[in-house]
Structure formats: C-alpha cells, structure tokens
C-alpha cells in the first residue's frame, strides 16, 4: 500500500513543481515550509488512520482524521490561497 502511496505522492509533487515551473510561479520560503508541514501532517494522519484500524482502535482512527487530518488540510489550503492570492495580485 505504501508503495502505491509513495508513487501517488511522488507524482503529485512532480506535477506541482512542473506546474509552478511552467507558469513561472514561485513560492515564498514560508509557503514551502507550511507545505512540508502540511504534507507531513497529512501523511502522519493517513498512516495512523489505517494503522489504528488495523490495531482495532476505531475511535483512535476517527480521531486522527479530526485532530491531525483537518489541521493538515487547513494548512495546505492556507498555502494554496496565500500563494494564489499573491501570484494573482502580482
């Protein structure tokens, strides 16, 4: 499963960087930093979610989605909007 997840994540990252290069967009250092944090938190959420289900800890699995999953989405959405607004205004 993690092999497939790694392929997907790699493809998405390559795709994003290609997209930024094609459009000549750049990200600020804090946007990069927030991106890494958001992606790390998202991967942490996914791993703990599935692993908690495997451990027969259903409540823990659900709470990982809430406690770490939603913040990761918020962080990534914030990066997206920060960069989009900045690029648009420039």
């Amino acid at each position: 499963m993690w092999f497939i997840a790694g392929l997907i994540i790699g493809a998405v990252c390559v795709g994003l960087i290609w997209f930024l290069k094609i459009r000549n967009y750049t990200l600020t250092w804090y946007e990069w930093l927030l991106s890494f944090i958001g992606i790390a938190l998202l991967l942490f959420t996914i791993q703990n979610f599935f692993a908690s289900l495997a451990e027969i800890e259903d409540q823990a699995a659900s709470l990982f989605l809430l406690v770490t999953g939603i913040p990761s989405i918020i962080i990534l959405a914030t990066v997206w909007q920060l960069s989009a607004r900045r690029i648009k205004s420039s």
């Binding site: 499963m1 703990n48 908690s52 451990e55 409540q59 989605l65 939603i70």
Partner: protein, 495 residues
Amino acid sequence: MENFHSTLSRRDFMKALGLSGAGIGMASATSSVFHDLDEVMASPNAGFQRPWWVKEREFENPTCEVNWDIIKPMDSSKSLHGYITTGPKGWGTDPASSFNQVFGTEKIVEIHETTNKSIIDGVQHNEPGWNLRDRALDRASTASYVKTVFTLDENKNEYSPEFFGVSKWQGTPEENSRMLRAAARFLGASQVQYGVLNEKTKNLIFNRFYTGQPIVFENTEKAYYTSNKFVLPSNKELYFISLAIQMHKEGFRHGRSSIRNSSNHSRYRLWSQIQGCMQVFLEAIGYQGIGYPMPYWGVMPSAADAILSGHAEIARNKNVCISPEYGTVCGYFTLLTDLPLEPSRPVDAGIFRFCHTCRKCADACPVQCISHGAEPSWEVPPPTTNPNMEPVYSMPGKKVFHTDSSLCMTQFNGFGIGCGNCMGTCVFNTNNAAIVHEFVKGTVSTTGLLNGFLWQADKFFGYGLTPDDEKENWWNYSFPTYGVDSTVSVSNGGY
C-alpha cells in the same frame, strides 16, 4: 511586507473548509468498510485471507488429479516410518519395517555409522553447521519431552561435549550472550537479557522455594536438588538469564475474562517447553541450566531480574513491569547458568517517570489496590484485608508505588479467571502499527513535561480495555501465531 491584510474572505475560507471536511468524511465512510487496499479486494470475513492470485477449487479436487475409486485406507505401519524406532540393532533394523525391507539391516547399520561419524567429526573438527553449538541447538529443538526440572538428569547427557570428546564451548561473554540470544529466540523466547549473581543480586535468590524447601549455596561443582533442598554452587560465578515471553495484548485488553486468562497462561505453557530446551542447549555446550522446579515458580523473582537486566522498568503497580518493546503484556522467567555472559544494564525509557503522572491502571483497578499517590515510597504497608499482619509476602528495599497485593489477590484468585485490568488498560499496552506510538515513546523518554497531556490523550483516543459488547469479536479476528508480534526487535530476514 506591504499587505498583511488577508484577501481570503470568510465565505471562501468556510467553503474550502467544508469541501475538505466533506472529502475527509467520504474517506472515513469508505474506510470503515475497507481497512486497507488489500481488504478491498479480499473477503470481508476475518478468516484466512489469501493473496488474490490464490484461487480456490472444488472440494476433493486438488491441482494433482486424484482417483478416489483407487484410494483406500493404508496400513501406516508399512510407511517408511513404520516400526522405525524398533529393531535388534537399533533404529530401522526391525524386519517388519518397510525401511528395513528397502535397505536391509546391513545397509542401515552402515548408514547409522556414517551418520554418527559425520556428526562426531563435525563437532570434533568444528565444521560450519556441524559444530558443538549447532548440534546443541538441534538437540534442544527435540527437547520438548523434558519436564520442568531444577536441573537435568545427569544420565541424559548424550550429545554433551564429553560424549563428543571435545572441551566445552569457549567464547567471550559477549559472544556467549549473542549465541544464547539467538538460540533462545529460536526456541521460543521473545527476548533475552542477562545479569550476574554478585553480592547484591544474590540477595534476590529466595532462601526457600514456594513449597518450603530451603535454597542454599554449597561448595559443589553442579547445582542439584533433593526432596529437602535446592542447592546452588557457591564456588563458581553464576549468571541469570532473564527470558521475556510476550503475551497477547488484545487478550489482556479484555480485562477479567477467560480470553485474558488464556493470554496469561500461555506464557507458562511456552515456558515449560522453552526452559527444557534451554537447559538441554546449555548442557550440550557444556554448561548448567538451572531452572524452575515447577512451571510457575522459580528461585528468584523474575520481574526483578527483568528490571535489573534492562528488559523493563517497574510500573505504578509494583507487581508489573513495562517493557519499551512489549509494554505491560509480557512475562519474564529466569534461568541460572555458569556460562560466562555479558550482563545487560537497567534501562530508562521514561516509563517509571510517566507512571508518576499517569494513574490509568489505578483508575481501572476494580478494588482500588494500586496507589494513586504522586510519589513512590520505601514503605510496605500491611494488607488492607488484615492490617495486623506483617506484609511478609513483600520484600522492602525498593522505592515504588504501593500496591495492596492482598486486595489484588481477591481479584486474581477470586473469579477463577484472574483480573489484569491494570495491564490491559496501560498506556504502554499498544500495538506497533501506528507510528504515533513511537512518537509518544520517544517523547516520554526524552521529557516528562507532556506526560499529563499524553495520559489524557490516551484516554481521549479510546485506548484501553475492550467493552463487554465487543469481546465476542475476538473470535473473528486474524491475529499472528501465539497472538503476538514476533518481529519486534528483529533485524534480519526481512520479516
């Protein structure tokens, strides 16, 4: 920067949040049915889940063709194993044996002589795969017949160094420790640590066995026992081998139940076999293995040995110890030996420090026998059930949180299935799949500042005892052999 004011409107933010939440909700709704991608493709039943490329066939129709009209009940004594252990000239020489009819007595005797010579030559010439310790492991692997004894019967020492005409195994203490760990894990132990019996740790040897016979030291080469005493040699250095046998965590989360009791008893069943195997291994390399005279009781406290040799730290319940690898759900047993070993040190993984803050086991105890105190103490209070009695069942000399063992025994012995709520609910009784547990353990070991938060988080996330209405699910789960993860601390083999 010129513009700090965000141009993201509240409407857009809430829209993004809602879309994200919907996405997560869809994922969780989907995932509650399919736990992972494998399960998407496999049967939803918790049975023997096989890879997708294994196809099932009709009953009595394997991939090799079978003619059921020809197959009849067979005389098993006519198989090549029939009458194999009998005969005037030993193994396979019984004329009634098919093996004997195939080869003839003369050839079989020749095979025996060749085999024995190969084995003896291998040991005498230290050949790889045939040397003394290889043969010792082979011998130990067949030792399940050995009943639980203090020391092995001296008459059963075939395959000892004397039998092969070689000196006993010689290695450095480090080499011996490594060798013994490899053998012990192969024979069924989860992990092994070592200690030496010095002027301090000798005080942990009981002066009487649990049935009352004295345990004494005498100037003797080998340990021995009579009906009246157990004797340890005083004129040589002895080491203790602390063997861990992990138990079924999910079973212990059942608290007071027969499945938890089964999980607990399993370690004694395994130990009764492992001890015999270890004693034979040690004897076969020329050393003593001094064990439990009976499966449940030894000559020194195994939990103390586990803590001193670095398996675990003591818990808030002073009758329990907690391993960084196996948590609370692990049993420990002690063998004594004169094989020189490299002692291992006690460890600090922040566990006992965590117990200063956490009271999860104390809260879970049905008779409240575990201290809720903030600090451990040197005192050993009398039992609640009989305040006039001296607590002779507890040796002072350690600063721990007090557990009223007499009250605990009302649960341990009172229901016929024991208790174990404290062990099952413990924060450290978690499995190994979710990486959050490594983050927690690493944090607990590094600093105690977050202990209170982590204790509460453990409860918030729902870790702990299994509710009664979920206990029957155990029969539908697919757990590893013996219900434990035997790959813990494994480095080789790609398991």
